[in-house]
């Protein structure tokens, strides 16, 4: 269990916010911090990993206190078992893939982990390559396994996939789930992509102006449980087209574009780019072998 109780005055381009946050995350869960830019998501994660010092508060992970302003406890980042993956990969350009991983090793750490991780991430053939010769997806795989070198208990993913194209994003989402399970991690994701959040996380916490304003299981949080309909997906509106007396709304769900017929009273509520839930009764779809 991770218990955060953090106070910090944050200054940003948008002004000053007083972060005042209480958060508990169960061990082994995959959770998402959701909210507008400047809400305090990244600052919270930086405080958890020891990159930013809270003004006051406590951070407790399992039975260990990582930070306590009253008792003057403040573990260094390298003493905290946290793997951090950034949106921009943050790889060392002058080092090969293998060297990037080796650089993350702690003193006297068993080196066999490097080979294991390279194999797991299917990076074996690329291990001598420099980051600039890799694709975005390959770079992010390197960044991800580099975060695992020190065998962290907590994995922090700060918008890790937002720079990638859709196909690569979907592939890496599967991969993140595998990593989370295989290494028994508690994973904290920052993402704005509702489809991605629904696919990956167990719980969602919404932050606004430095506080948690809404939390719940992912399905409850996005209202996905609010109908009895079992055939349901979330996606993004691509096109709204009038056909005869009806409207046809095209929705991107994962890699597929599906079409939903809607009456004008509904169609008027949507615009292109909206995140939507598409649902039907489990009784209606047909199913066929392919």
């Amino acid at each position: 269990m991770i218990s955060l109780n953090l106070k910090k005055t944050l200054k940003s381009a948008g002004g000053k916010i007083d972060l005042n946050l209480q958060l508990t995350i169960e061990k082994g869960q995959f959770v998402t911090l959701f909210g507008e830019s400047g809400a305090g998501k990244t600052s919270t994660l930086r405080m958890l990993s020891g990159l930013l010092r809270p003004d006051s508060g406590t951070i407790k992970v399992g039975e260990t206190i990582w930070f306590d302003s009253h008792k003057n406890i403040d573990l260094k980042p390298q003493q905290r078992k946290v793997g951090y993956v950034f949106q921009d990969y943050a790889l060392f350009p002058n080092m090969s893939v293998r060297q990037n991983l080796e650089y993350a090793l702690q003193k006297n750490q068993d080196r066999t982990i490097i080979g294991e991780l390279l194999e797991f991430a299917e990076l074996g053939e690329l291990e001598q390559r420099k980051p600039e010769t890799l694709s975005g997806g390959q770079k992010q795989r390197v960044a991800l396994v580099r975060a695992l070198v020190q065998r962290p208990e907590i994995l922090i993913l700060d918008e890790p996939l937002s720079a990638l194209d859709l196909k690569m994003r979907i592939k890496l989402q599967e991969y993140l789930l595998q990593v989370h399970k295989k290494y028994n991690l508690t994973t904290i994701l920052v993402s704005h992509d509702i489809g991605e959040i629904v696919k990956l996380s167990d719980r969602v916490y919404e932050l606004q102006n430095g506080s948690v304003i809404k939390k719940g299981t992912t399905t409850d949080f996005f209202g996905l449980n609010k109908t009895s309909a079992k055939f349901r997906f979330s996606g993004e509106v691509l096109k709204i087209q009038r056909e005869d007396v009806l409207y046809v709304i095209s929705v991107l769900i994962g890699n597929d574009i599906i079409k939903v017929v809607a009456d004008r009273t509904e169609a008027n509520n949507f615009k292109i780019g909206d995140q939507v839930l598409v649902a039907s009764k489990a009784f209606n779809p047909i199913i066929q072998k392919i």
Partner: protein, 117 residues
């Protein structure tokens, strides 16, 4: 699986079949409020009051407005439950001779009704 009877505010009863049971979905409890959703395309319209057909949900209504399209037509029906929209083929509309102010029965099969707690 359950068949759920829902009493609408106007007193009519609608029926829905859902995969859930009271064990898997706590909202399935007598007296609990739910919203009832169905698609305009799934609404059938008949001019006969007593029709021998396996469609469980029937509501009396009158046509308050009509929009005739090339292939499909959109009917706005005034019922005790409130306004219901039905999309039917323009061919049916013409065959049945539907016109504004006409009294009709609307029908929805129970597998088309979604419950939203």
């Amino acid at each position: 699986m359950s068949i759920v009877g829902v009493e609408v505010e106007s007193g009519e009863e609608l029926m829905s079949v859902v995969i859930d049971s009271p064990d898997t979905a706590p909202y399935l409890k007598k007296g609990n409020k739910v919203n009832v959703l169905f698609k305009e395309m799934e609404v059938a319209v008949t001019t006969q009051k007593e029709l021998d057909i396996s469609i469980e949900n029937r509501i009396a209504g009158s046509i308050s407005s009509m929009e005739e399209g090339v292939l499909l037509s959109r009917l706005v029906l005034e019922t005790k439950m409130g306004e219901v929209i039905a999309i039917i083929s323009t061919k049916s509309l013409r065959q049945m001779g539907l016109v504004e102010k006409m009294n009709v029965m609307i029908m929805v099969k129970l597998n088309e009704i979604i419950l939203a707690p």
